[in-house]
Amino acid sequence: MFMIPVVLKNLFSRCATRPYPQSPRQLFVGSRGQLVNDVEKCILCGTCARTCPSQCLTVRRKEGLWEYEPFACVFCGVCVEACPTGSLAQLSQWRPAVRERERVVLKVEVKSQESGVKSEK
């Protein structure tokens, strides 16, 4: 019974639904989204790999590889804060849903700039 005024009010007020796929909403500044590494700034120090609570980062200095498992990442942002050169950043955009397993492997050469992203099954 007491619900009727609320229901009537809803009927005549603006639509509460966010029309998501049609017009996506701008995310808030500082939202913790995708993790990206700027290979030009990365010095392969391995601080991110040591601090990551989920241990989803691997730094292989010898091969010059920075590896990231997005499927195990918990998007806490601890690595971003720990990064001494500011090469890691979190975009204000969530990581999209995918149909295949992925793994990010970045080739980092401290001097020259060569990079490649590959998806592995």
């Binding site: 019974m1 007491f2 619900m3 005024p5 609320v6 229901v7 009010k9 809803n10 509460a16 995310l27 808030f28 500044v29 500082g30 939202s31 913790r32 601090t51 990551c52 609570p53 989920s54 241990q55 918990v74 998007f75 806490c76 942002g77 601890v78 804060e81 979190q90």
Partner: protein
């Protein structure tokens, strides 16, 4: 038909989480209930052996997604006490703000699910609509909707500026309006009263014997609230525990509803008194010794036992969550009620199975 056993769960429409109950019923009346667990068990206390004590903050946050902030808060407070660190005043007030935001969203979530268990779907939808504003505040202030990850040992990771605090206050005013509009429905509606009054009654003495915590205990006349311990900045804020006397599902509903208003009030107080200064202090060294830390979660008292040996890894981390303490009381609340009321009584303890099993 003496003693038919009906399995309830683990996958059940009213339960968002897998809990299994073996209900022994006679006619339509439950005569005994045995809970069975293990569907959500991960064994994360053992992770303390391979994750260092700072990484464990993110792990304990994921004990439960609904009260994650307070899990991390309890853990950090325990370690701060062990390491002799005093978080700065601003951090303590910010912790209160985020804790109370978590309490608000958890109670709104529960009221919604509870309404859904009664079959009152429009109320569920309406409450969750109001709740989205809290989620927005969480995201705008901490960067994530559910798991905030704001705590570190020695303070917090994010700060609020004056624009944000003003926006939080205006959003809270809207939330307050939304809750007040629903208040009459939740507390006085004929349907709700019929489904909840006199169901799953627990006396104060029984509740103490079964070690109930939080709203369960407060709904049967025991004024116990861990926030009275004065952790974070609760010692500087003005509040009194919400207490009801009846001990039935309706009383629990009333307690949680009243706590919504209390949380809004506490956030307003905390924002009003928010001191300036640093938000964290640098922490050096490693913890040593053993300690018990407690805090009040939306569902009640949460207890962390931490034993450290001065190394990188903790010796032992033990988490006693509120639902773990509340579940034994189900074995006395369920017998004697009708089978159709089982979902309502079960939800009235606000079960959080991922907390219970960790």
């Amino acid at each position: 038909m003496a003693g038919t056993v009906i399995p309830f769960g683990p996958q059940h429409p009213v339960l968002p989480e897998p809990l299994h109950l073996n209900l022994k019923i006679e006619d339509e009346i439950v005569i005994s209930a045995t809970p069975a667990f293990g569907y959500v068990h991960r064994g994360l206390e053992k992770l303390a052996d391979i994750r260092d004590f700072r990484q464990m903050i993110q792990v304990v946050e994921r004990v439960c997604g609904i009260c994650s902030m307070i899990h991390a808060l309890t853990y950090c407070q325990g370690l701060e006490a062990l390491m002799g660190v005093e978080p700065p005043p601003r951090a303590r007030f910010l912790r209160v703000i985020w804790s109370e935001l978590h309490r608000l969203h958890s109670h709104l979530l529960w009221l919604g699910l509870f309404a859904d268990a009664m079959g009152f779907e429009s109320l569920f939808m309406q409450l969750w609509k109001v709740r989205e504003r809290i989620m927005d505040i969480n995201e705008a202030t901490a960067g994530n909707r559910v798991i905030l990850s704001v705590n570190v040992i020695g303070g917090v990771r994010r700060d609020l500026d004056t624009g944000q605090t003003g926006w939080i206050l205006s959003e809270l005013a809207e939330v307050d309006k939304g809750i007040k509009a629903m208040g009459r429905t939740i507390l006085h509606d004929y349907t709700v009263q019929k489904r909840t009054r006199g169901k799953g009654v627990l006396s104060g003495k029984q509740a103490m014997e079964f070690g109930c915590v939080g709203p369960m205990l407060r709904s049967c006349g025991v004024a116990q609230d861990m926030r009275l311990l004065g952790y974070a900045a609760y010692c500087e804020l003005d509040f009194a525990p919400v207490v009801e006397q009846d001990g039935d599902c309706y009383a629990r509903c009333r307690v949680r509803f009243a706590e919504l208003g209390q949380s809004i009030d506490l956030i307003r107080q905390a924002i009003g008194k928010l001191p300036t200064g640093d938000i964290s202090v640098p922490v050096k060294g490693r913890p040593e010794g053993e300690i018990v830390a407690r805090a009040e979660q939306p569902r009640g008292e949460c207890l962390y036992y931490i034993k450290a040996n001065g190394g990188k890894f903790l010796d032992r981390l033990r988490i006693r969550t509120p639902t773990f303490a509340n579940i034994p009381a189900l074995t006395v609340m369920l017998p004697g009620i009708e089978l159709a009321d089982v979902p309502v009584v079960l939800l009235s303890i606000d079960p959080c199975i991922s907390c219970t099993e960790r």
